[in-house]
């Protein structure tokens, strides 16, 4: 008998986040083509979130397949962000795309010879801000219908993170 869907989940890891980010992006595209705008945005937000989390955890040295846990990795990342001065409100903290983007920029800026160029770092922050203002994980509980320009903005930002994931 085949394993059920949930039983087929690999542990959370950088590799899993990156692969899932691409899948969710494609899922979002399919939804947007079908006119399901809010659903598309909902999935693209996770694309950005997983890409940024993977980039940060990779930058601080976590292995590609090391299991990621909230206690050992995500909580310390949020605390590190706050320590570096990133505005990181407690509500929905692990899903705050803008804050993950700013953590990545700031962590690199505070590490010798690792800072992004002003232009690239500005883009990371900008696209993080853009998704941060249009997406929250609680969108799933609401029936709002997204505007076309909101769909375009989130898609462009999520796509930018995917395209540049190797350089993050």
């Amino acid at each position: 008998m085949p394993k059920r869907l949930l039983d087929r989940c690999q542990p959370d890891s950088i590799r899993e986040f990156r692969a899932a980010a691409r899948q969710r992006f494609d899922d979002g595209l399919a939804l947007s083509v079908a006119g399901q705008r809010t659903g598309a945005i909902y999935l693209w937000g996770y694309t950005a979130e997983m890409t940024l989390r993977a980039a940060y955890l990779s930058f601080i040295g976590l292995g590609e397949t090391t299991p990621i846990t909230q206690k050992e990795h995500l909580r310390p990342a949020v605390n590190q962000g706050r320590l570096l001065g990133v505005a990181w409100p407690p509500q929905g903290e692990f899903h705050n795309v803008r804050a993950w983007a700013e953590l990545l920029v700031t962590q690199r800026a505070s590490t010798p010879d690792a800072a992004y160029s002003p232009s690239f770092g500005g883009d990371v922050q900008r696209y993080g801000q853009r998704i941060g203002e249009l997406w929250r994980e609680f969108l799933r509980y609401h029936r709002n219908y997204a505007y076309a320009f909101e769909v375009r903005q989130v898609r462009e930002a999520a796509e930018w993170f995917l395209v540049n994931s190797h350089a993050l």
């Binding site: 949020v78 700013e102 922050q125």
Partner: protein
Amino acid sequence: MPRKQRTFEESPRPETNALVTRLVEELQQKDKESGQPLIYEELFPTGKIRVVVIWDEWDRLSLEDRTAAILQAYERAEGRTYRDKIALASGLTVPEAHAAGMLPFEVLPAWRTGDPVTLEQCRQAMVEEGASKLFGPDIVQLRFATREEAEDARGRLVSSLPGSDQVWTIAQDVGSVEEWSNR
């Protein structure tokens, strides 16, 4: 098949010039002690800088436009080289900064009937000191990142309102039990 390249379109920006000009003036005014905006600069050992500008005037702007305005103001006030050292520029209103836990100290009037100053005088002095009016109707909050900043503000409030020494108090947000356990 035609080959087409495109770049991401920039969304149209609202008029931010007035705020940039005001921020340039603030940056050049080195001896200003009080009032908004609160400008925090953190210099990393790498030479990079993180800038946070807390200002209720940001209320009408998107986060992107705030960042762009801050970088533009720094370039005009300090030059391109300095601007390129800024790794992260964030603009927040006072309520936004408070929600993120960045302004835990509050100076507030513990006013009682019979005090030598009126509550309205206190309110006015707080606004001049940089209090935010964005927390809600008829609510003003004067908030700071450190106790030292709050103590300094309290001193200035006492100077501007003689006899108000006993009125002002400083409170500190302590956060929830869950927040403490996560630290």
